[in-house]
């Protein structure tokens, strides 16, 4: 499955031969974007959180990697990686197909991913996906953010993420239905386009069975963190 997806991606990405040494209008490019690399200050142990993505490809077809997760007390608590073939299907939308691997919590879980990423009317950045895993497990995720330009370089970004699951998975502490909502507000300053430190606040809350599992573990089901971080890309 994974091999098949990867080879498919690479076949689609083989550069078309350009004319007699002339520049191609559609060069193979790579981009690595660390959207979030931040320290979240909580009442207890501080969290080191990352959210990053990268791609290689051309205008309409790309191979994507996405990763996000968090360290608490120098231990990886949550982490996932996605490998996706991304194809432009509309002027502002890419269809993203591939595989998601949850590294933490254990036991690890694998999912097939069907996602839609793009810019909606009124300039909302949207990333939504459906996940299908083993034993009939299913999940859905919606992420949305909006950039409020306070100045050309000072940018306020409200964002929201929610996760839903099709059935209970007690081993990983996820319950069916709406599992969690995370809402953040980050204020970044683009020293350069490629480099922007930020401060912000993040609110998370677990719902339903997921919240029950957390309570059983003695964990909080909702939390507010102040955060400081940096966004960078190249």
């Amino acid at each position: 499955m994974k091999k098949y997806l990867l080879s498919l991606a690479f076949i689609l990405l083989i550069p078309t031969l350009s004319l007699a040494g002339e520049k191609s209008d559609d060069p193979m490019l790579t981009m690595v974007m660390v959207n979030q690399f931040e320290l979240q200050l909580t009442g207890g142990d501080d969290l080191l959180v990352w959210g990053a993505e990268g791609w290689i490809g051309k205008d309409l077809n790309k191979f994507w990697l996405k990763s996000s997760g968090e360290y608490v007390d120098s231990k990886m608590e949550n982490a996932e990686i996605q490998a996706l073939y991304s194809r432009a299907i509309a002027p502002f939308w890419d269809l993203q197909l591939g595989w998601r691997h949850d590294i933490r919590p254990t036991p690890t879980r694998d999912w097939m991913t069907l996602g839609l990423k793009g810019l909606s009317p009124y300039f909302f950045d949207i990333d939504m996906a459906l996940f299908v895993g083993d034993n009939g497990r299913t999940s859905a995720r919606l992420q949305a953010e909006y950039e409020v330009m306070l100045t050309q370089r000072l940018i306020l970004v409200p964002e929201i993420e929610m996760n839903l699951y099709g059935k209970n998975d007690p081993a990983t502490g996820t319950g069916s239905g709406l599992s969690d909502i995370e809402a953040g507000l980050r204020l970044r300053y683009e020293v350069r386009r490629e480099f922007a430190p930020y401060i912000g606040v993040n609110w998370t809350r677990m719902y339903g069975n997921t919240a029950d599992y957390a309570r059983d573990e003695g964990a909080d089901v909702d939390d507010i963190q102040f955060l400081i971080g940096v966004r960078a890309w190249f």
Binding site: L29, P91, F123, M149
Partner: protein
């Protein structure tokens, strides 16, 4: 207001460097200029301190050249060690030979922009010839059959951005229909310390990378204060729904560009001398990769005598917009013993190129302030501003209403009436192209290839806007040159009406930074076929929100400004955002020719090969 002050303070705090790169005063080509061999050839007192080569035989050497425009040393692509390259001065009727040697590590070429010449001499790799391989010399040879102001530039890779451009002056056989005492070339260009390949990659990754003039929360607050919430919401909603920015004026801006006038930075400035009472001819050439300029000389009227090297009926203006690759010849007659600023502000107001006309090197001229930052309108999005009032009316009727309200000149009125006739003819299934000079009456058709992820917009109701000076120049209180002002001084050579019309849509996806014609990029496109000898109408429809300067090689583009007997001959025509425009072409040059947008980072996709057979 407070917010703005606050933000600019913050930006100073975090960003000590200025956004607008004015460059260094002693900038330019390093290492003793390397121009000595050519200096002695300079035409007497016609051009100040720029190498001029004249005659029939020319040896041109393309090589890297160390330059410093911003305080950092960079390598430019120079001709005979000079950026811009030497001015080439030819004579109409001569046969010229140009031996061009490539000392770069990559293939190169020189295209003689606007010249009517055999296809093999046009200098476009893969179309005219193979390009000039490193270490090789290509011998260009052709008869000079025209006169006026033209220019040359590389047609390979991004070499034009790095300095490979220069002026061509062709002296006519017949005396010119205007007189002047001084003759200066004013070549405008845009320099970046960045590698152009990086600029292109950045635009692909983040198309707004160089745009530091986006709408902010402050603009929104001001709009709400002035117009109220409801009106602001309705004004913004179209832009927001379409995910378009009304501040999207140019892809690459003064945040990376230093704008040059004859190779001089704004800090240094170019200087032209005159004596009071003299008439000065300025041959203004836009040799930029990506930048349009609005040119004026505060305190002086400019008489435009030629457009794209071709004499026109003189027209007196305060200001004109010059698209990439266009040229205008103007004559000015300073009456006072003072210095005048020759001010060329970039269309997006993020920088300027500057020169001084002065009787005395000690005199300085004040540099004017930038005009306000231009903001695109619904019209620039290809929507008919009057449509809202035409409830239930169809698109064509809406067209009609807009045309009537915008009309100023008689020729356009008659066009509008012909359009009525054209409409009824179309309704009865008749094919009708209309008379030469009147422009297109054809239905706007968006072909299926225009739909897909590679095209983000299609103009719903594009208007012919010959009398629109363009975004940023409307109602600015100055007399601005319009395309509808352009009439050939001489009768149209080929007075036939068009036999055939080709409608070409300029298309793209700004956020993906993809550009195409009819939604098909060059790499995927079949050549356009012109029939030898035919009289064609080319109609461009701009489905994007950018100006595109469209350049046809090998044949004149005779702009339909109203009078078919006096069509101005151009080689490069600006197609305004959301507008349509037509010109006539006589397909009198057999062979393969390039036909493309002259914005360097658009032309890789927005390009066609034309075959005349």
């Amino acid at each position: 207001m407070t917010r703005e002050t606050y933000s600019s303070d913050i930006e100073k705090l975090f960003l000590p460097r200025r956004q607008f790169v004015k460059g260094v005063a002693m900038g330019g080509v390093l290492l003793g200029l390397g121009l000595a061999p050519w200096r002695s050839w300079a035409a007497a007192d016609s051009v100040l301190s720029h190498p001029v080569l004249q005659g029939k035989n020319f040896n041109l050497k393309i090589a890297p050249q160390a330059v410093n425009y911003t305080g950092k040393k960079r390598f430019a692509t120079a001709v005979n060690g000079s950026v811009p390259g030497p001015i080439l001065r030819w004579r109409e009727g001569d046969q010229v030979t140009l031996n061009v040697t490539n000392h770069l590590a990559e293939s190169s070429s020189i295209h003689w922009h606007g010249m009517i010449l055999p296809p093999g001499m046009d200098g476009v790799p893969d179309i005219s010839f193979q390009g000039i391989a490193p270490g090789e010399t290509f011998h260009y040879q052709f008869d000079v059959k025209q006169s006026g102001t033209f220019w040359y530039h590389s047609h390979s890779g991004f070499q034009e951005q790095t300095g490979l451009y220069g002026a061509i002056i062709i002296d006519p056989l017949e005396p010119e229909p205007f007189s002047y005492d001084r003759d200066y070339v004013v070549l405008l260009s845009d320099w970046s310390d960045e590698d152009p390949t990086d600029i292109y990659a950045k635009l692909k990754k983040m198309s707004g990378y160089y745009n530091f003039a986006e709408r902010t929360a402050g603009d929104l607050a001001r709009d709400i204060e002035q117009k109220g919430v409801a009106r602001t919401w309705s004004d913004r909603s179209t832009w927001n729904k379409m995910r378009m920015s009304d501040r999207d004026l140019s892809d690459v801006t003064g945040s990376t560009y230093t704008f040059l006038m004859n190779g001089q930075t704004p800090a240094a400035g170019w200087t032209g001398l005159f004596k009071r009472g003299e008439k000065i001819r300025l041959r203004i050439i836009n040799g930029s990769a990506m930048s349009f300029f609005d040119v004026r000389i505060p305190g002086l009227k400019m008489t435009v005598v030629a457009a794209d090297g071709q004499n026109i009926e003189p027209v007196s203006v305060d200001e004109f917009r010059i698209g990439v690759a266009e040229t205008y010849d103007v004559i000015v007659a300073p009456k006072d013993d003072r210095a005048y600023c020759l001010f060329a502000q970039a269309l997006d107001r993020t920088g300027y190129a500057r020169g001084t006309l002065t009787p005395d090197l000690a005199l300085k001229a004040d540099v004017p302030n930038f005009d306000p930052y231009p903001i695109l309108t619904m019209q620039d999005m290809g929507m008919n501003m009057d449509m809202g009032n035409m409830a239930g009316g169809n698109g064509s009727m809406g067209n009609q209403s807009a045309d009537m309200s915008q009309m100023k000149s008689t020729p356009d009125m008659s066009m509008s009436q012909t359009k009525m006739a054209g409409m009824s003819a179309a309704a009865s299934g008749m094919k009708m192209l209309g008379a030469a000079g009147q422009g297109s009456q054809a239905e706007i058709v968006h072909v299926p290839t225009e739909f897909g992820p590679h095209v983000d917009a299609r103009a719903s109701d594009p208007q012919s806007r010959l009398d629109d000076p363009g975004v940023g120049l409307r109602n600015n209180g100055r007399r601005v040159l319009l395309y509808s002002d352009l009439y050939n001084l001489n009768p149209t050579v080929d007075q036939r009406d068009p036999e055939r019309e080709i409608q070409l849509h300029l298309t793209g996806n700004m956020s993906r930074y993809m550009w195409s014609i009819n939604g098909v990029k060059y790499a995927d496109a079949e050549p356009l076929q012109f029939k030898y000898g035919e009289r064609l109408r080319i109609t461009f429809v701009n489905d994007t929100m950018m100006n595109h300067p469209m350049h046809l090689h090998g044949m004149w583009s005779e702009l339909e400004t109203g009078d078919g007997r006096r069509l101005p001959r151009k080689h490069t025509v600006i197609v305004q955002p959301g507008a349509k425009i037509s010109y006539l072409v006589t397909a009198d040059a057999r062979g393969g020719w390039a036909f493309h947008c002259h914005l360097l980072y658009h032309m890789l996709g927005m390009f066609r090969k034309v075959i005349v057979s």
